[in-house]
């Protein structure tokens, strides 16, 4: 097998557990000329805000950025579905020369009249940052005229990484917080942050909390509504789901409204149970919450345990590679895979921080490869070397896994199956099982008997 060269400047973003002292460079700009799996600032903002279903999402720029993000995410809504529309100012050459403000104004006023949204988010993309449109000024003018919040999202692709996009989204959303009345909010209440209702996950989680006797004021942003976000400052606690996408909003809310926050994950049995217990323990004045939580966890786990055991029989000892957006998600995945008896041989993320990678390092077994912002060449190299049976990643990684004859599980925003909560763990096990145990791999080159 030919050794595939790893770009020299990339060496510091790859770590082999046990081989060298831990030191990785992350959070840096992708190298020029590499085929990065990373997206841009805009992508980060779009991911976070997309599920807000009664808002208008207008992408200000040439057509591509809007076209590629049209209805590709499985974020469900129980009511309005304005978020599934893709609106673009579709800038033309004259706009690039003379500025796009007029178009933006015209687009906004027309769309608001036609669709009557509760708020509007205007995403500034790369070109807008260059031609220097005063997006904020147009937004405040339209906001005055139409009487709804019109919020600029500063998401020019080149001005940072996906993480900066998360922050820009949080900044915009923060302007919605505090606009509504909180009179009927219970003292035993939370906001769910960083949960995007992929395949209905937010509904699953919300139901758990409701069963526990905890009021969910708003989910940000899964099945999101502008009005709910407006009264989210009435909640007693912010519960922030992994990925870190919305940590900055939680921080702002803590500072401004004194709402504490905790970080949780709803992925896997252990993490889901821990999340629910962590929240329950935040309400010691109402001990019934904890009792109900214990019942809930017990019942939910009991319901799926026999199935998980069956799956585990086939999956025990199989090897998995993980490459996901945020490192926090990787932590949960590692634990969930261990529940299924699987071994993690590669773990990486697009946007992990130094601290994230340190935790990852501790969680993994000796010999596990740890990667930051990997490209297809590297991913493949290690997948083959480590003889993985399963790859967990996004759509861009799927064909690589398949070409090399490795099972695949989509753990990104495009998937349609809920993987959160207890039932999510069952779905995950089922999906992993269906791919890893498929008979097709015996036709893969590396398994062919010559």
């Amino acid at each position: 097998m030919s050794q595939i060269e790893v770009l020299k400047d990339r060496k510091s973003q790859i770590h082999l557990k046990g081989s060298e002292p831990f030191e990785m460079t992350c959070d840096r700009h992708s190298l020029s000329g590499s085929v990065s799996q990373r997206a841009c600032v805009f992508c980060g903002s779009r991911v976070v805000l997309y599920p807000i279903a009664d808002a208008l999402h207008l992408v200000h720029g040439p057509i591509g950025c809007a076209a590629y993000t049209w209805d590709i995410r499985g974020a469900l809504s129980s009511g309005p579905e304005l978020h599934r529309m893709s609106f673009s100012t579709d800038l033309q050459e004259t706009d690039v020369i003379y500025g796009g403000e007029k178009r933006l104004y015209a687009a906004l006023t027309q769309l608001i009249d036609q669709y009557q949204p509760k708020a509007a988010f205007i995403y500034a993309t790369c070109i807008v940052g260059i031609i220097g449109d005063d997006v904020a000024a147009v937004c405040s003018r339209v906001s005055r005229e139409k009487g709804i919040p019109v919020l600029p999202v500063h998401s020019e692709g080149f001005k940072g990484t996906k993480k900066d996009g998360y922050r820009a989204a949080c900044d915009a959303m923060f302007k919605l917080v505090g606009r509504e009345d909180t009179a009927d909010v219970s003292p035993f209440s939370i906001n769910i942050l960083g949960e995007f209702n992929i395949g209905g996950e937010a509904w699953i989680i919300r139901k758990y909390y409701e069963k526990m006797g905890v009021q969910v004021v708003s989910v940000m942003t899964g099945d999101g509504r502008v009005g709910e976000i407006g009264r989210s400052h009435g909640a007693a606690l912010n519960v922030v789901q992994c990925s870190g996408a919305m940590t900055s909003l939680a921080e702002m809310m803590q500072k401004e409204y004194g709402i504490p926050f905790i970080r949780v994950s709803y992925f896997g049995l252990e993490d889901t149970a821990k999340a629910l217990y962590d929240v329950a323990r935040r309400f010691p004045d109402n001990p019934e919450i904890l009792t109900r939580t214990m019942d809930l966890v017990k019942n939910e786990i009991r319901a799926i345990e026999p199935d998980l055991k069956e799956y585990r029989k086939d999956l025990e000892g199989k090897r998995a590679a993980i490459y996901v957006g945020g490192a926090f998600k990787a932590f949960s995945l590692i634990r969930a895979l261990k529940t299924l008896g699987m071994e993690v041989v590669l773990a990486g993320s697009q946007t992990g921080t130094d601290e994230d990678y340190r935790i990852l390092e501790q969680m993994c077994d000796e010999g596990t490869v740890i990667l930051d912002d990997a490209n297809p060449v590297e991913l493949s190299k290690y997948v083959i070397e480590k003889d993985a049976d399963l790859f967990i990643g996004g759509v861009k990684e799927r064909p690589i896994a398949y070409k090399l004859g490795v099972g695949f599980c989509d753990h990104n925003h495009e998937r349609k199956i809920p993987l959160a909560g207890f039932i999510g763990m069952y779905n995950f096990a089922k999906e992993v099982h269906s791919t890893v145990t498929s008979p097709v791999w015996k036709f893969a080159h590396r398994r062919r008997r010559v």
Partner: protein
Amino acid sequence: MKRADAKTTAAAAAPVTKGKEKKKGKENYRPTRNACKLCAPLGAALAFKGFSKTIPFLHGSQGCATYIRRYLISHYREPVDIAASNFSEEAAIFGGQKSLLLGLENVCRQYRPEMIGLATTCLSETIGDNVPMFLKEYRKGREDGPPVVHVSTPSYRGTHAEGFHEAVRAVVESLATAPETPSREGINLFPGMVSPADIRHLKEIFKDFETEVTILPDISETLDGHLWSEYIRMPEGGTPIQKIRGSGRARASIEFGRVLSGQKSAGKSLEERARVQCFSLGLPIGVSESDRLFQTLSELTGHRVPERYNAQRERLLDAYVDGHKYVSGARAILYGEEDLVIGLAAFLSEIGITPVLCASGSKSGLLKEKLSQVTPDISKIQVEEGADFSDIEEIAAQSAPDIFIGSSKGYRIARALNLPLVRAGFPIHDRIGGPRIIHLGYQGAQALFDRIANALIEKRQSDSKVGYGYM
């Protein structure tokens, strides 16, 4: 009188005044709602994928490349590596020369490509990077490195369809040489944005005509490949670079696309520069347009049409007759790249289906004229250039259609109207096998005909309470 007629026929119920033809002028500007087009660099990257060991490289920010990759991958289900110069803020302000040079070097080192297809995105175009000059700089001391073909593709100037054709033209213009000797061999084929299955079929046809063909570009293997034993940086397949260079020595070129025939193209450029005569044909969908292809081939090669194609043609006609009652009088909504829409409209008019709406996100200004060449009565067709899917939705709701034919992006509208969608073209994001859909030649028409007839039959069958097991 006739004009007014046209409108009422097209919009069965109330007159429809949507569509962007009426939107000219600033006051009438409307934002795009659910685009029926993609951006130019996607088209360019796709075209570059059809040349041997060519890595597409986008000069601009990384997000565009990542989005485009994902979009292509979801259709082809193949790895699609696209490098980018990954603009930083600094590059956006001070220019992208450094990023570009470093990027080219890195991509050469990591991929060892035979060619680099460099497309500029909106960003590098807007800041005014002088890419030809950067490349001249890059060439110094690297004269024997792989060719870098540059195409300018700001998407505010054209859609993915233009990006595709422009990239092909750039490749031919920078590599093809005019012949020193008068001896001419083989035929160039510029198929346009067709599927890998289409290209495989075209190759067979040329083989049966015993004629050497250079297909530009050839995505038949690079985007519909096989399993790997190890990671392959650059999949096998695609037009060999030597053959691109030799395309100036061909006997003739054939290009598909009636709209393309009215635009600058690789074929016409080769005709001007190397005197390779260019034959512009419509996309060969259906009997008549395919006949034109076979006739042209027959004339160019001096061979009679091979027997198997006559047989395919006869079988197709037999199928037309067998199935005509199921399709006759049906009303179809067509959308996609202009030349695909025209090809499909030509085919549909042979079997008695009226394409009541022909829509495209592109704006060549030629769509209506070209459609009228292949359909018996253009007055029955509402033609929309620069359309988006919201326009299509609004028009469709009032045109009493029976079927949608086009990419998977029309699915939601078809579903809302409880109508079948026959998937054709690009992208097919909701089914397996998009790259294996065949549209061209008698064989392609056969496959399309069966699928369309069956979709209409299935609709009748499932709408009926009886549960017929025979139709």
